[in-house]
Point group: D2
Chain length 90, copies 4
């Protein structure tokens, strides 16, 4: 079973928490909250997304590269991670 | 009028778009989508949140530091940005 | 006196430490050290550069924006920081 | 032959270029150059270091995980990358 299925419950809990953070951010903007507070909320939601990304990357690396018997499939799945890192990590 | 009020419509549009991305991510996990696609969705939502952070930081810098007459207030509001950068930029 | 002059000694100490890290990295590659160790060295040098960047950004913000009497100059110097963040922060 | 050996010439060229950037940065600080220019130099050196990190990570992933026959070794070498990402990517 692929990691997305195996970790489905855990990942959905994380995504729903992020959805809650984004909803709270929307309310803060609606209410015209102080921008210092809004900045902290945005940074927290962004950090939560980063944590989710690392978790799914780890699942991908372990399931589709480490546990994969076929070296050619390992190579193509490793490329998925490298492309992601080149585009998004800094 | 503080930048959060002035840019309220524009910021709410961005936050609602991010909320849509997070909702789509939840559906993708529910449906057990391929993890390559899920990774790209997470990265896109994270990038959108980063864009929102930069926009609010720019508003904060311009409204509460550049446009602020009182040097002491400028200093304390500048500290808000530096604290954020130290914690979240990499 | 601009912050670069005022903090010159402190900044030079940091840059020379980074130069030492880069020289050590060069030796590690020459010696064919284990790539796990090389990766940690690279990450440490990158972290040191990030720390140096934050220090000079803070000096720029405080000296050229917060302490600047002319609002127009404050605005143009604030733009320098925002352009840097847009290009390099993630 | 491990990727550090195989790519030695290419990696040394990159590290020496970074050493040159750091040396130029030291001269700029000695000469009291304008901080806008110093910030751009630091950001460029940091970007070059990030590029070097991605290159060695790719080599590590391909040589020590994708090309590794023993699944247990693949798992431990994959952990090296995940630990690095958790500590340094943002």
């Amino acid at each position: 079973m692929a990691h997305i299925q195996r970790d489905k419950k855990k990942l959905l809990t994380r995504v729903r928490r992020i959805a809650g953070q984004v909803a709270a951010l929307e309310q803060a903007l609606e209410a015209g909250d102080d921008c210092d507070a809004v900045l902290v909320q945005i940074a927290a939601a962004k950090g939560a997304m980063h944590g989710l990304m690392l978790e799914v990357m780890a699942g991908h690396l372990n399931d589709h590269v480490v546990a994969e018997k076929d070296p050619a499939k390992r190579a193509s799945e490793a490329e998925v991670l490298l492309a992601l890192l080149k585009r998004h990590a800094r």
